[in-house]
Subunit: 281 residues, 2 copies
């Protein structure tokens, strides 16, 4: 009797275990997404829940399984990897783990591949360009005068990033005019690529206040003095960009304007950058 | 005697432990980079090595400490987080952990923020545009004829990605002409942003062979038949892009050409995208 009763309980327990799986929602591509809360969980319990969940998702023909794991649950990363998950991407506060279940080829999307930066060509009516000397980095201590530059923040529009960086580095208010050119480079930062946009800006104020932390000096400099610096002339890329800026300054160049549009499907607002002068004419 | 001897050994052991630290190389920003090999290591040993290393790096005034940890060493992620590390980014095979040691504000660079995609406007001499119907995704089963599109691979140039995607989806060989426009959108994929480049391509072959896995159908379609599809007309963004393409097709539009340049500092070749027609004239 006691043996039979024990077996009954155990069978009940098993049933409960099999039925209890991780909370997941379906995604749009035949897979499921698990978003773990930051409530602590024992690694052994997680491993058994995960195994039961995977078994059920396999039966249901699910494809990609995503687990968004907050850094507080770092103890659960190892059990997930032991069940076949690998890293997709990570941010400071979480890691995204993924597992492709079917035997057909993996069609999971790649993670972000590019950093985006801007350089700001701010020219005033006296034909002077706004330039800075940096305290550190590649240009620190070189005496080179360069355009204000910076990295586009997460979720920030390129045209807004240029306004922000000019303000931060020099105290100058400015208005975005056009993207004059951009460069794509690879392996610029770990294995990631880089897109660098040269933005023409119209200054809206004139008194410079250099940023203390990063900027050694800032000034309005006659354009030709900037462009004829040996450093600019020596580097093909900088020389080419200086030619583009001169052509623009003299009125003979059309870059890409920022046209606000509503993204078709998501209904979100976004900017289309386009040679508006040519489309409108 | 035995007590004194034991204490001697223990002191020796302590010295050895304190002196043994993780292999690290200096980076260009006052920090250090640890690249773990995939040789297995006990989590307890790693934790003690890491503590000794951090103590030494702090004394040396190091700023950012990076640990590139292969997925084989997933057991060492938790001890690193317990010592104050957090996630910077991750790829399938490794996670990059980082720890900012000084008390001044963290100036560590952000990780990649954007995915990059292309849409290919391939137009032939009969004023026909190359269009496809997709099997799945947003457009699957909608009957919408659209440009071939795709994601730029890691380390791939935008102009090459457009050639590759046209070939993969339709079998057509083509040559990159210009970038006509691009759109930046946010939160398009997890929390990441998206840059989508519309590329004009010149076809070099004409017999279409649709990709089986992703493409339902492909054809050369009279341009106005493409542009007047209700789906294109209904969406401001697609309508605007169709206008740009028409203007280009009719010879009245300058986009950005790909100019090969050598990146100034790294000596690497990269493309500058620029309105060459205006610079050259």
């Amino acid at each position: 009797m006691s043996s039979s009763s024990a077996s009954h309980v155990s069978s009940e327990k098993q049933t409960q275990q099999v039925e209890r799986i991780l909370d997941a929602r379906n995604d749009d591509h035949g897979g499921v997404m698990v978003e773990m809360t930051d409530e602590s969980m024992d690694a052994g319990l997680f491993a058994s829940l995960l195994r039961a969940s995977l078994s059920q998702w396999r039966q249901q023909g699910k494809k990609g399984v995503w687990i968004k794991m907050p850094i507080e649950l770092v103890n659960l990363v190892e059990p997930a990897v032991k069940e076949g998950f690998y890293y997709h991407h990570a941010e400071a506060k979480y890691i995204m783990l993924v597992h492709w279940l079917p035997s057909i080829a993996n069609t999971l999307p790649a993670s972000a591949s590019h950093r985006v930066g801007i350089g700001a060509f701010v020219v005033n009516e006296k034909n002077e360009v706004l330039v800075v000397q940096e305290k550190s980095g590649t240009f620190g201590g070189t005496g080179v005068w360069k355009f204000p530059t910076g990295v586009v923040d997460e979720g920030e529009d390129i045209c807004d990033a240029a306004v922000r960086e000019v303000k931060e580095e020099t105290g100058i208010d400015s208005k975005f005019v056009e993207i004059l050119a951009f460069r794509q480079s690879h392996k610029s930062f770990f294995d990631k690529s880089d897109l660098f946009f040269v933005c023409m800006m119209q200054p809206l104020s004139f008194d410079i206040k250099p940023q203390e932390a990063e900027i050694e000096a800032a000034q309005w400099m006659p354009y030709e003095e900037y462009a004829t610096q040996p450093f600019v002339q020596k580097h093909e890329l900088l020389r080419y960009i200086a030619d583009v800026c001169r052509t623009k300054k003299d009125g003979g160049y059309s870059g890409f304007s920022a046209v606000p549009t509503v993204t078709s499907f998501s209904k979100k607002k976004s900017f289309l950058y386009v040679n508006r002068q040519d489309v409108d004419s």
